[in-house]
Structures are given as C-alpha cells and as structure tokens.
C-alpha cells in the first residue's frame, strides 16, 4: 500500500456561472521515504492539488471524480472528525509564506506547544522541551530564545525553519511543502533544501514539494510530476525527467531555465503563448497543443494518450512512443 495514492482526481471551481476544470484525472503515488516534486507554472493546478492533500479547498471547489488515499484511508469520504485526526500525524504542510502558518500575536513557543495537542500524555513542559529540540534540529542556533519570540521578530529564513519544525513536531507521515523556498534568498534556499534532504533520511516520512523552480527539483526530488493545464503531463525519476524529458512541455520548461543554459545567451528561450483557459467546455485536444512546437493535427482534436515509458514513468502525448 502506498503512503499516498491519488487516483483519477478531477476537481472544478465554480464562480459566476463559470466552471473551471482545475484538476483533470490526476493520478500519482508517493511511497514512504520518497521526495516527490510537483512542478508546473501558475495555473497548472499544482497548488489546488496541495490544497486537496491538506483539506484546505475553498468553498467553491467541487471534487467530481477520483480518490485520495493516505495509507488506504480515503480522504474524500472521511468525515471531518477523521480528517482532523489525520491532519498533523498524517499530513502536515509547509507554506510558501511562513507568516501565514503562525498566529502573529502568540509567541513561537506557545504555538509550537499548542500544535502538539494530540500528544495527550505529554505535559506542556515536555512539549516545550520537544519544541526546543526540534528548533535546534532545523538549525536555529538559539532555540530557547526563539521560543520566546513572536513570528515577526524572526527573519524569513528563520520563520521558514520554525514552520518546518512545527510540521515535524506532528511527526507527519507525509509532509507537503508548497513553494517552501520561493520567498527566500538563494543562500537560505540552499540551507532549507539541505535541511529537507536531511529530514528525509532522519524521519523516514515522505515529502511532496510543490514548486515552479526546476532547481529545487534537481536538488532534492527523487521523482517528478510535471503539471500543465490541470493534468500530469509527465512523470518519472528526476534524472530521466531532466536528461531525457519526453513531453514537449517538459522539454520547453527545462530549456527556459537560465541555470540550464551555458555561457551567455543572446536571447533567453521562452514558451510562446499562454497557459490554456480551463473554462468548461475544455477543448478536446492536448492542452499544450497551441504552444507546442511539435504539434500534429490530431493533437488539437484528440485527447493525448498516457504513454507508459517504464515503471512509474509516463507521458501524456501523441508524439511519444513507448
């Protein structure tokens, strides 16, 4: 049984009579101990997927199809009480802006103690000691002082470390990190990525990282899912995705990354056009076809097949052959 299993998940947002298909038949599995990256640009559906995993969907979202199982328990049919029990020990979240994760009027220490409410056998003093040890583990040099601070008194990097510590205090089996380093400087990004990599070995839980940054994927992920237009257009081990991308979108995305272009480029490559509008009715063909340099006539009229290229390696494209 996989730690996380998403099968054929489809989700729509409705507002003012317009229905947007944000996720379309998304399937993925995450095994214990893996770091899985979900890469995509704005509007690809990656953050919606994160919201499903955490049960933080807005009211106008409706899941039309599929299942999300954590160790076999279907999140979507679970009553709220059960979901609440799963949140924390089952799934914990690290947000892009750690300021959102903390209450601004309570100290970090108070919040880190409160987060452990499910540990009924521990006293507050025990929980504070656990919090202090966890802060030290995520690389905060003076954890006792940090416990007394308010969130705004910490730098962005320290706040993100504290948010990761908060998530780890719940000993989650699955840690979902939504753009965990986007708000940080490169030097702090490198340190946070290093920390997440170490945590994976020490804590044996799985990590799902949602990012638009291929550098983050290259540094930390074992496997990657590339999202476009609400679908997973390619999945595979990180090395295959980087060195032998099968889907034209993945190829274009990698080609655009300035870090991957040697020397000095006279002009930086771009992907002409815009991401597809996912308003219903969504066109039948491939979502990437209007921007795809290799599109065939059938790409515009027929939905692309999912071509299996190997174990846990596939691409959603007419042009790819197994």
């Amino acid at each position: 049984m996989s730690l996380l299993e998403v099968t054929d998940l489809s989700l729509t947002y409705a507002s003012d009579g317009v229905v947007v298909e944000a996720l379309r038949d998304v399937s993925l599995t995450v095994e214990a101990g893996e770091v899985v990256g979900i890469v995509g640009e704005s509007g690809s559906g990656k953050s919606t997927l994160a919201a499903v995993l955490n049960g933080l969907l807005p009211d106008n979202a409706r899941i039309t199809k599929g299942a999300v199982r954590i160790e076999g328990t279907d999140l979507l049919t679970l009553p709220e009480a059960g979901r609440r029990r799963l949140r924390g020990p089952g799934v914990a979240m690290v947000l892009q802006d750690p300021m959102q994760a903390f209450n601004p009027v309570l100290t970090i220490g108070r919040q880190l103690v409160d987060f452990q409410h499910h540990l009924k056998d521990l006293s507050r003093a025990d929980k504070a000691a656990r919090a202090e040890a966890m802060l030290a583990e995520v690389g905060i040099s003076d954890p006792a002082a940090c416990l007394r601070r308010f969130p705004h008194e910490l730098s962005g990097g320290m706040r993100q470390r504290a948010a990761i510590a908060a998530a780890l205090l719940l000993t989650p089996r699955l840690l979902v990190a939504d753009e965990p380093t986007t708000a940080l400087d490169v030097t702090m990004e490198a340190q946070i990525l290093h920390l997440l990599r170490r945590l994976r070995t020490d804590h044996a839980g799985a990590i799902v990282i949602i990012t638009h940054h291929l550098g983050v994927v290259g540094e930390i992920c074992d496997r990657v899912h590339v999202m476009y237009g609400g679908q997973i257009v390619e999945e595979g081990p990180v090395d295959d995705i980087h060195h032998a991308p099968a889907h034209p979108y993945t190829q274009a995305l990698i080609a655009c990354d300035p870090a991957a272009i040697p020397g000095r480029a006279a002009r930086l490559p771009t992907i002409p056009g815009r991401p597809p509008p996912l308003r219903r009715p969504v066109p039948k063909g491939c979502a990437f076809a209007p921007r795809c340099p290799a599109a065939l006539p059938q790409c515009r009229t027929e939905a692309p097949p999912r071509v299996v290229l190997g174990p846990r390696r596939s691409a959603l494209c007419h042009r790819v052959s197994p």
Binding site: E41, S42, S155, G156, G157, M158, T182, D185, V186, T187, M188, E189, A190, Q191, L193, H194, H212, H213, L214, G215, V216, V217, G218, E219, C221, V238, D239, H242, H243, A252, L253, I254, C256, D257, P258, A259, A260, I261, R264, A265, R267, L268, P269, T270, I271, R274
Partner: protein, 326 residues
C-alpha cells in the same frame, strides 16, 4: 564619455525607528563607487539586507545620500535642477509590478499618467503605441490591473517606466514571482529596449543564473558594502570574493547529477545594527582568518575593471570555485 549614472564614495544613513528627540542614524551603505554607461546593464546582487534596494532608491533620487556624490549625466543629484531632470529621465521598475499599479486606474491611463503629470503631448492612440512597444495589444488599455497576468502587469509597468523616454532604468527584481517561460520574455524585452533606446539599465536581482545572461557588469553587495565588481563573465567564472563564490555555489542546480552535499554558505546576513568588526562577511566565510576579524578589507583593484574587498582575493581567484583552503 560621462556615465549616465555615477556614484563616488556614496554613503547612506537612515534614521533608526523609535527615537524621537535624538534620532540615531544607522549606516546602511558606505564607500559605494560605481557607474553605468549608456546601453550598459549593471547588475546589483546580494541577499536581502545587503542594501541593494536602498542603493537603487537613492539612484533615482528617492533617498538622499549622506556622504559622497551621486551623479546623473555628470551633474550631482544634490543639485535641484538635476533632481528635476532625474524625474523625467530616470525610471524605476518596482519589485511588485501589480502593487505598483493603482487597482482603480485602467492600464491605458496608468501608462500615460507620466505624460499627463509632465504635461507632455498625448492623444487617444498614445497608450496603444506605448503598449505595443512592450508587446501588448492596444486593446489592453481598457483593462484593469486585476485582469492582468503577472507577466502582463510587468509589461505594463515597463511601458509606464518608458513613457518619458528615460536614459536610466532601475529594475528591482523585474522577474521575481514570474514563471520561467515568462521570465525570459521580460528579460528579452529589457535587452531590446536597452539596445534600441540606449538605456542604461541597473538590474537588481539575487538570481545569478539570470544575471549571467543579461548583465555586462556585476556589483556584489554585502551588508552595505561593495565586496566585488567587474565584468559579469569574469566575476562569475573566477569570483574573487568568498561571498560571490558562495552565492554562485548556492544557486540550485536543475541537474540532479550535480547535487551538492552541503550548503555553500551557512547562517544569515548579520544585522546592520550589530555590524561585525573587520570584514562583514567573516562570520560566514569558510576561509576567514584572524586578520579578517580585525582589519576591514577595502575594495582594491585586481585586474582592469575588477575590484574586490577581500584580504585574500588573489588566492581566491587562483582557486577553482568551491575548493577550500586548509
């Protein structure tokens, strides 16, 4: 040729918050000497807290300098006539493009606002022409900021910055928050404008991968001091300052085969309020010696056009990147 913008030994102090009668001044930047020529792109790089945005604000006259001289086309900014000129001849792209546009002003009115303020001639077609220059359809003029994508909002702010045909454009993280596929578009646009209009461009960024492709020269700031300057290709190929080396090594690599085992620089930039003695970077520098903690290194020439503020700059450039001194 006189530079479009020149800084000679510039220092900037800002008042510390809190004080009322005897406001304490905090030194943010000092000893900043640099210049940008017509058609040239200078990249200012450094972590948050290094002083790059403060310097940018001073460059377009939004902050007074406390010491030294900032010159625009050979005239000091302290001269009111020069400051007036600067208002029409220098422009800034702010980091948050959407935030820099009023939510209640249409795109068309936003881009011609500088013309209105300076009583320049304009007609119905002006906004459309300006939008076309940055690759937007003239119909966009009727839109409002909330209807724009991140890349479009960025283009609108470029169009507005160009309204008065500036000689200098200061761009603060012009691609922050944009998708990679759109990032290239904005950078290509800036490169075209620089070439076609002879703009002097100051590009503030902490993304070295991007800076490598679009800048001619680079100035690395740390804790309000210039630690290294020089031609971009040379600085990035053979950085002379350990901080520059660290920034390069910290850049995440998309190739999983080139993963690093440990972060290049650890810790954080120290607080300006508690500026360390000696070299500001010594507390995080893997090569720091006793001398670094006692004696402040000055920015000194290493080769034509290259300067660095490190006691061991010569040793640094002769070492391959990331090799450690025993």
């Amino acid at each position: 040729m006189t530079a479009v913008l020149g800084a000679r030994d510039v220092a900037i102090d800002l008042p510390l918050p809190g004080g009322f009668l005897a406001r304490r001044q905090l030194n943010i930047l000092s000893g900043i000497t640099l210049s940008v020529d017509k058609g040239e792109t200078l990249a200012l790089v450094g972590e948050s807290g290094s002083g790059k945005t403060t310097l940018a604000r001073a460059m377009i006259g939004l902050l007074p300098v406390s010491a030294g001289v900032l010159e625009f086309r050979g005239q000091p900014l302290s001269d009111p006539a020069c400051r007036r000129r600067l208002r029409t001849e220098a422009a800034m792209l702010f980091q948050d493009a959407r935030g820099s546009l009023s939510p209640r002003v249409s795109v068309g009115n936003a881009v011609i606002e500088p013309l209105a303020i300076h009583r320049r001639p304009r007609d119905r077609a002006t906004a459309g022409r300006m939008l076309a220059k940055v690759g937007l359809a003239p119909e966009m003029a009727a839109r409002f900021p909330h209807e724009l994508s991140g890349g479009q909002a960025r283009r609108v702010s470029v169009a507005r910055a160009l309204a008065l045909d500036p000689a200098l454009l200061v761009a603060d993280e012009p691609t922050a928050g944009l998708d990679v596929s759109v990032q290239g578009e904005i950078l290509n646009l800036l490169a075209d404008l620089r070439r076609d209009l002879g703009l002097a461009l100051v590009l503030i960024s902490h993304n070295l991968a991007m800076v490598r492709h679009v800048s001619d020269r680079i100035a690395v700031l740390y804790l309000g001091r210039l630690v290294e300057t020089g031609p971009t290709d040379q600085v990035l190929a053979r950085p002379a300052h350990p901080y520059t080396q660290g920034l390069i090594a910290a850049e995440p690599n998309p190739d999983p085969r080139k993963r690093r085992d440990h972060p290049a620089i650890t810790g954080e930039i120290p607080s300006l309020i508690a500026r360390p003695r000696g070299c500001g970077f010594a507390s995080r520098c893997p090569f720091a010696q006793d001398r670094c903690r006692a004696e402040t290194p000055t920015l000194r020439p290493l080769a034509p056009g290259r300067e660095a503020a490190c006691h061991f700059a010569e040793t640094m450039t002769s070492q391959p990147i990331r090799e450690t001194i025993p």
